[in-house]
């Protein structure tokens, strides 16, 4: 009784010491300006992050392995054999995502500036285009681009072929464009109007105000949502497999078919695809959070 009373008392006391909210007692946490590694540590992989997927992968594969007793070659072996092909497919995914992001950003920036134009009609049309592409499903837009673009374009007798992956890039860049447009508009609107007024009082023209004062400040604000969008786009590149582009998901299906449709391989292969996407997108997500914290206005 006594013992437990004292223990409880002690632990409570310790807790109180630790959690004091007297301002003078709080020691400020000094971040050491350490090496790159320590500054990276905020968004570097913690072992348990990948561990969960790995655990899942192993458990599911071992269960499946147990079910199938006349297994031909072990799952790890098969996965290892197909890994180079799958990774090549994944690189293709990244290429698609980067191209679509580049096109989408360029078009979206133009559209976003259109949304803040002084001309009423430019503003309305850009607003409508933005809303239209933002509110339609990515997969439908991808189908849209896939089926409605010609397989080659003739420009003055010169035939430029449009392979399906180029169409996929165009199809994916449409929603990206709309989202970037909203990001640009949001960033410009979020700036205090004093910036515009100050520039006006210093006799800047509208174009000068926009290029020299407003947009440079916007870049900082636009970066985190833009990176977020990139992560979403990278995850959306898998959709291209539905319309027949040979990226990682298509290749996974083909590899599974080539192995003779063994059901015990399904879980490991799909977890592997999940894992590579996780390893690519997770650092981006962490970095985004860090940038958001860094750029957020204190107070």
């Amino acid at each position: 009784m006594n013992q437990s009373y004292y223990n409880g008392f002690n632990s409570r006391k310790r807790k109180q010491e630790y959690k004091t909210d007297l301002p003078v007692m709080i020691t400020p946490e000094v971040k050491e300006p350490g090496s790159i590694l320590s500054s990276l540590s905020a968004y570097i992989f913690k072992p348990w992050h990948g561990f969960v997927i790995l655990f899942f992968c192993m458990v599911s594969s071992s269960i499946a392995f147990g079910v199938d007793d006349n297994a031909k070659s072990s799952i790890a072996e098969v996965l290892w054999r197909w890994m180079p092909l799958l990774l090549k497919g994944f690189i293709f995914n990244i290429v698609i995502s980067i191209c679509a992001m580049a096109i989408g950003t360029a078009a979206g920036a133009a559209l976003g500036l259109g949304q803040i134009s002084l001309n009423k009609w430019v503003r309305r049309v850009s607003w409508f285009i933005t809303q239209f592409f933002r509110n339609s499903p990515w997969l439908v837009l991808l189908f849209f681009a896939m089926f409605l673009l010609p397989f080659e374009i003739n420009i003055g007798g010169l035939a430029i072929p449009l392979p399906d992956w180029v169409k996929a890039i165009i199809g994916l860049s449409l929603p990206v464009m709309a989202n970037v447009s909203e990001i640009v508009r949001g960033a410009v609107v979020s700036l205090p109007s004093g910036q515009w007024e100050a520039a006006e009082s210093l006799a800047y023209t509208r174009r000068q105000t926009l290029w020299l004062i407003i947009l440079p400040q916007c870049v900082k604000r636009m970066l985190p949502p833009w990176m977020n969008l990139y992560a979403i786009l990278t995850m959306a590149t898998v959709l291209a497999s539905i319309v027949g582009v040979s990226e990682v998901m298509t290749l996974t299906g083909q590899a599974l078919a080539a192995e003779g449709g063994r059901t015990d391989l399904l879980a490991p292969f799909y977890s592997f695809v999940l894992l590579i996407f996780f390893m690519y997108c997770y650092p981006i997500a962490r970095w985004t959070v860090r940038l958001e914290k860094k750029f957020s206005v204190i107070g």
Binding site: F143, L148, A236, L239, F277, F278
Partner: protein
């Protein structure tokens, strides 16, 4: 009504604009069922994703370290992997591990069909985002409010249920709105595992009639319309829930 449908038949004969889902009763049924399926899938996934979000946000504030870690792991995994791969993983990998049941005709069917897996996978996907959204909303509730509730003898669950959540709900509605719109758009992925929703049925129709352009434009408008209704409803709800003086 019939004459209205007949008009589209005339439109096709005269201009070549082929909208079989209006004049052909078979295609009309298919399209209508697809539309209902999309709504059904959206509503089921919406419901469960919000439940997951609420429970997840509660667990994320749990005093147990491992509960928090598992919830965080769940969020990070589902946020950073493609929803389509998740869907395939659930449908093909986990679906293959589950036992089969016999149907009435002597054949064997999986316990969970395409619709169930699509609903499960979409709920988990959107739920991961909802947990984060609800957590951010709970952080926006002033600390003094929870402290006051504690002082009045509320338990942790009561504080969450009766005080934090209702207040947080009003803060998170815009973000939630955004995520739910995304969810409705993501239901098209169910196409990949042959759930007969709107995209799937449209695909069937354009395969039969070779009218890709018309179907595509109709599909885009249909989703635009669906999302529009959702956004309108959520905005109305947001306005009706508003407490004067709370939030911005």
């Amino acid at each position: 009504m019939e004459s209205f449908f007949e008009w589209f038949k005339l439109l096709y004969d005269n201009t070549g604009i082929n909208l079989p889902f209006l004049y052909d009763s078979y295609d009309r049924d298919r399209m209508w069922n697809g539309f209902l399926m999309t709504i059904k899938l959206s509503v089921v996934a919406l419901f469960f994703s919000i439940i997951i979000g609420i429970i997840g946000a509660w667990l994320q504030n749990s005093p147990l370290k491992w509960t928090r870690r598992i919830v965080n792991g769940y969020i990070q995994i589902f946020r950073n992997t493609p929803p389509l791969v998740q869907l395939y993983f659930f449908y093909f990998a986990i679906g293959a591990l589950l036992p089969k049941v016999s149907n009435g005709y002597g054949g064997e069917v999986p316990i969970l069909g395409g619709f169930a897996w699509a609903a499960i996978s979409l709920s988990f996907f959107a739920g991961a985002f909802n947990v984060e959204i609800f957590r951010s909303g709970m952080e926006a509730v002033p600390k003094s409010t929870t402290e006051a509730a504690e002082a009045l003898g509320f338990s942790r669950l009561q504080i969450y249920k009766d005080i934090t959540l209702p207040l947080a709900f009003r803060v998170v509605l815009p973000a939630l709105n955004n995520n739910l719109v995304n969810l409705v758009k993501t239901t098209t992925l169910a196409y990949a595992i042959a759930v007969p929703e709107m995209l799937y049925e449209s695909n069937q129709i354009w395969s039969d009639n070779v009218n890709v352009t018309e179907m595509m434009i109709f599909l885009l408008l249909a989703y635009f319309f669906l999302v529009g209704i959702l956004v309108w409803g959520m905005n109305r709800w947001e306005r009706s829930l508003k407490i004067p003086g709370f939030g911005t």
